[in-house]
């Protein structure tokens, strides 16, 4: 009898859920149907397998989605094995395109060579690392790279903001950042501490940058770093720090990231295309589509678009590929 009741309960809960679901309507922007573009090219077909960095994934996803509207018979899949994991598959001939938040390493290059896999590197967008503090942090507006190193060095003893800069208060320092698997972590540690992966370990790491945001938002002495797009989506919750690498304080924005005056925390993002893939017309079309629409795609995916010179170079690379 009891079991019969529990069945009824489960059905009831499911029913209530379904009924509530009918209320719907939480998305902030208008839902207009995704339609196939008028100038769709139905002669292209096949599939393109993209994998690699999860930082680049939103950009690759957006490009894949829009490209598929242009070429409805091509299917593009995007995976997020991470930059290193992506190259491992790419150099084993399992993927066509590898997203990367850094350049290919010599040992990864060697793995590709061993399998006879040749490739083309394309810079697809720029990204800045935003340094953020709590809204109540009134003292820190600009931080030097030296202070950053004091804060994040592997043997750092800094426990208060005063330990980083004597003119700052004794508010205790609460550090947040990405986990050690992240390309952003690799890049930040290399830029600030000199060695990839060299970082103090007593901070709160998270693979999910939204957790870092919540952490800094909740701690007066909080400090965190992540891709610029996460700051732009949460400007009302966090303060942005300027960075001084010896030639004055610079805040990250489109211009300073593009010309890399926001240094050393600006970086290009990459896609690697295997030669066997670029010989296929659907992959060539995908590259051409990307290069032609790069500024819009990068902006929509919340990245900093390529500078004019970078874009011209990307176009040359794309044009040089056999169709």
């Amino acid at each position: 009898m009891l079991k019969r009741k529990s069945l009824i309960t489960i059905i009831a809960v499911a029913g209530i859920g379904a009924a509530l679901a009918a209320c719907g309507g939480g998305r902030s922007s208008d839902t207009s149907a995704a339609t196939t573009a008028a100038n769709a090219d139905t002669t292209l077909s096949g599939s393109i397998v993209v994998d690699g960095s999860s930082t680049v994934a939103p950009l690759a996803t957006l490009a894949a989605e829009k490209f598929q509207a242009q070429a409805p018979n091509v299917s593009v899949t995007v995976g997020t094995s991470g930059t290193g994991g992506g190259f491992a598959k790419f150099c084993n001939g399992e993927t066509d395109v590898s997203n990367a938040s850094r350049e290919i390493k010599p040992e990864e290059q060697a793995a590709c060579d061993a399998k006879g896999i040749k490739f083309t590197q394309l810079i697809v967008a720029n990204d800045g690392i935003a340094l953020v503090t709590n809204k109540e942090n009134t003292w820190a507006k600009c931080i030097t790279t030296k202070e950053l190193a004091t804060m994040w060095a592997p043997d750092s003893k800094a426990t208060t903001w005063q330990d980083v800069n004597p003119s700052w208060p004794t508010e205790s320092l609460k550090l947040f950042g990405p986990g050690t698997d992240s390309g952003t972590f690799d890049f930040f540690t290399k830029s600030i501490n000199g060695d990839e992966g060299a970082s103090r370990t007593d901070f709160s790491p998270s693979e999910d940058d939204n957790v870092t945001i919540k952490g800094v938002e909740g701690e007066k002495g909080g400090f965190g770093y992540f891709g610029l797009s996460y700051y732009e989506q949460n400007m009302d919750k966090l303060n942005l720090l300027q960075v001084d690498s010896g030639s004055g304080c610079v805040a990250p924005d489109t211009a300073t990231v593009q010309d890399a005056t926001y240094t050393p925390l600006s970086r290009p993002l990459y896609m690697y295309f295997s030669e066997t893939a670029t010989q296929r017309p659907e992959v060539k079309a995908f590259i051409d589509y990307y290069v032609a629409n790069e500024p819009t795609l990068a902006k929509e995916a919340l990245f900093v678009p390529l500078a004019d010179q970078q874009l011209a170079q990307a176009k040359t690379v794309a044009a040089g590929l056999a169709g």
Partner: protein
């Protein structure tokens, strides 16, 4: 022989007397223990309710036809989970068609037919127990080396489903064996006495009697497999797939999509992730409901 038995029975009598005394004057220790039990129950319940409440609050506004009908998109207004939902359901079906029969057959063999005193049967039993304790990522690595690369299957849905099947085998085998063991021997002996063969007894009497237990174990294993992410990422499940997956195409599943959405910067995607969790919960509840229905149906016969 007599001595220890008598001491044991004396001990037992004293224990009963103590507990009777305790009922009259509930001791402090007993009250503390009761409070502790109640507290333990509450910890689980409160955690569950907080989780459910948060998910429903964040997710319900986003649970709309678009989520069920559309493919994933970089634009939160258009993003849906259709390919992931289809893939998750397909994986469940592949598991029911492949892993479940194998697991149940293994359990029936080990419990009803296998010569229990042989060393190799013991070895198999020991290994099944060990397999149940292996981290899921190890199965992922096995799948990558053996199915995806070794057999050249590629990162397709079938490869992911088979590796999840392998992972759930020990759970289902162990629970199915428990269920078979719970069927009283008198049922078997009665069947044999009436002249039925061993196969007939197992097929017509023991197995139907064990179905409620087997169903519960199977659903537990299946539910765990549906919520799994790590081994699938290892065998190359994608995160963005815009077409309806087939057995031999690339795929993404709900847990992977949820994980990806939660990490995106746009707030809308966190709501969508919560809504996708509700969809995943609905699939799991449906499966559990089916198991409960089956348990009730077959339990009435006995």
């Amino acid at each position: 022989m007599n001595g220890p038995t008598r001491t044991a029975s004396v001990h037992a009598t004293r224990a009963v007397e103590r507990s009777l005394a305790g009922r009259r004057h509930r001791s402090l220790a007993a009250s503390v223990f009761l409070v502790y039990l109640l507290f333990s129950t509450l910890v689980g319940l409160v955690a569950l309710f907080v989780l459910l409440f948060t998910i429903l609050r964040d997710g319900l506004p986003y649970l709309d036809p678009t989520l069920l009908a559309n493919a994933p998109s970089a634009n939160p207004a258009l993003a849906g989970a259709r390919p992931a939902i289809i893939a998750s359901v397909m994986i469940a079906l592949v598991l029911i068609a492949t892993a479940l029969p194998i697991a149940i057959a293994t359990a029936v063999y080990l419990e009803e037919f296998a010569p229990k005193d042989r060393w190799w049967i013991r070895l198999i039993e020991l290994n099944i127990q060990n397999l149940a304790a292996i981290p899921s990522i190890i199965f992922g690595i096995l799948g990558l080396a053996f199915l995806v690369r070794g057999l050249g299957l590629g990162p397709v849905l079938l490869a992911g489903a088979l590796i999840l099947g392998l992972q759930m085998l020990p759970t289902v085998i162990i629970s199915a064996r428990e269920a078979l063991r719970a069927v009283p021997d008198s049922v078997r002996q009665g069947g044999m006495a009436l002249g039925a063969t061993r196969l007939q007894v197992v097929w017509r009497e023991v197995l139907p009697a064990a179905i409620p237990g087997i169903a519960t174990g199977s659903i537990l294993g299946l539910s765990r497999a549906i919520g799994e992410t790590a081994p699938l990422l290892m065998v190359g499940a994608a995160t963005f797939v815009s077409y309806n997956p087939g057995l031999l195409t690339q795929y993404t599943v709900l847990p992977i999509l949820i994980y990806q959405w939660i990490k995106l910067p746009q707030a809308d995607f966190q709501g969508l992730a919560a809504a996708a969790i509700i969809v995943l919960l609905a699939i799991l509840i449906t499966m559990n409901g089916f198991a409960i229905w089956m348990r009730n149906r077959y339990e009435r016969k006995w």
